[in-house]
């Protein structure tokens, strides 16, 4: 406080000069139209520039909060979307009963054939083993293990897994896997020879593995390979998920999942 007082004392003349000049300029601006217009023109441009810059910084600083908010909103919307019968009109079908909750990927696949990924949240927020995981609306993997706050994800990029899917929404079911080579290319095996698979065709989940609802996008056909005399062909699929850039995940679960799992167990089958 004393230093402030000394500083003010030392610069008293400058402060007095600025104060009197401010009074003079304010009188001038109040009474002179040309001066006022010119002043506001100049200061208006500067203040709008400053405001635009401040707005930009503010937006940037709030980006992560907005991302979290958008992810939660996305999850809610996807829950709603998956609970609608998309084949007919947009009518809610409570029998489908899928719900989605958002999460964050904290360790993604690194391109090795058996890598597992880690994500939040975990058991405390209702994540259970076997849940399907989406990234940007496309299939990403499934929950393999659940901890208190984290989950281990088995992604499509695991060479030991097979995912039930079909080319187009009405094609025959085939299994999708990864040969461990190119992170962006998956392989669709056991596709019947007669199936038309042209580059650009979409590949969807079949829903038969009980992890994903049917018709969730997996990727698009790049190429098909028909060997002479074979009944099945191999189709290369470009993954719909960018595994290198994924951050936000969505965990999906069926509301009657436990019942479905119990009924699907082999010992209960006749």
């Amino acid at each position: 406080m004393r230093n402030l007082w000394l500083l003010l004392q030392r610069n008293a003349f400058t402060i007095a000069f600025i104060a009197l000049m401010a009074v003079s300029v304010s009188v001038l601006l109040r009474n002179n139209g040309a001066a006022r217009s010119s002043w506001f023109q100049k200061t208006g441009a500067v203040s709008s520039m400053v405001e635009a810059q401040r707005h930009e910084w503010s937006n940037y600083l709030h980006l992560s909060e907005q991302n979290v908010q958008l992810a939660a909103e996305n999850a809610a919307l996807r829950s709603q979307l998956l609970s609608m019968n998309m084949a007919d009109t947009w009518r809610e079908d409570t029998l489908l009963g899928w719900s989605v909750r958002s999460g964050m990927l904290i360790k993604g696949p690194d391109g090795k054939p058996h890598t597992l990924s880690l994500a939040t949240p975990g058991r405390t927020e209702g994540i259970t083993q076997g849940m399907g995981v989406l990234a940007g609306g496309a299939a990403f993997g499934t929950v393999e293990e659940v901890g208190e706050g984290h989950s281990r994800i088995l992604t499509l990029l695991h060479s030991g897994t097979a995912w039930s899917c079909r080319i187009g929404k009405g094609g025959p079911v085939a299994s999708l896997g990864w040969d461990g080579r190119d992170i962006n290319v998956l392989q669709l095996n056991d596709v019947p020879r007669h199936v038309q698979a042209t580059p650009g065709d979409s590949v969807f989940t079949s829903g038969y593995d009980l992890r994903f609802p049917p018709n969730v996008l997996l990727g698009t056909v790049i190429d098909s390979e028909r060997k002479p005399g074979a009944d099945f062909m191999k189709v290369s699929v470009a993954s719909a998920v960018d595994f290198n850039a994924t951050q936000h995940l969505e965990f999906i679960i069926h509301r009657a999942d436990s019942e479905r799992v119990v009924l699907a167990q082999p010992e209960l089958q006749p």
Binding site: A12, F13, A16, F17, L20, M21, V23, S24, V25, S26, V27, L28, L29, R30, N31, N32, A34, A35, S38, W39
Partner: protein, 170 residues
């Protein structure tokens, strides 16, 4: 005394000498500057600043210019301490020195008055015109007006502080 002198000059400029502009805008003198420049160099910087502000305010009220002379007067009042320092003799000002022709000499008086007048007229030009594109055409009339103001101030000095008036017996 300074205040009275300033008031008198403001009244004179506003009501009598206002139209003494032989070449129109090229020679528009500011008579009240003479009174402001008579503030002694030894005076406090605050007194100089307040004198400039007061002179500008009085001129604005008398001439109806609303703020233009206030800005110019404050600028000059703020610059007066620096101008006094700039024009100070090598050994500094004597306690009895007044900024007059007799005490400081003609070269000091003309240099000091011209510098102050140029500053005042240039600031006045800026606040009168405001727009950048109008300023180039206004610079030359401001400089000639500053020179004319200097001439008027020197004439006033000669009239008011003439040696004959001081020593009527000579």
């Amino acid at each position: 005394m300074t205040a009275l002198r300033m008031l008198l000059m403001v009244i004179l400029q506003a009501f009598i000498l206002r139209d003494v502009t032989p070449f129109g805008e090229w020679t528009r003198p500011e008579w009240a500057l003479w009174a402001l420049l008579l503030v002694p160099p030894q005076a406090s910087p605050f007194l100089k600043l307040l004198s400039g502000f007061a002179m500008g305010t009085a001129l604005d009220i008398a001439l109806g210019t609303y703020g233009q002379h206030m800005v110019a007067g404050t600028a000059l009042g703020g610059a007066l301490p620096a101008l006094h320092r700039l024009f100070s003799p090598r050994e500094g000002y004597e306690v009895t020195d007044r900024p007059t022709l007799q005490d400081m000499g003609s070269s000091w008086l003309i240099g000091f008055t011209l510098s102050a007048a140029v500053l005042y007229h240039l600031v006045l030009m800026v606040v009168s015109n405001w727009y950048w594109h109008l300023l180039p055409s206004a610079i030359l009339p401001s400089l000639t007006s500053a020179a004319f103001t200097t001439m008027c101030c020197v004439v006033l000095h000669m009239m008011v502080y003439s040696p004959d008036r001081r020593n009527p017996t000579h």
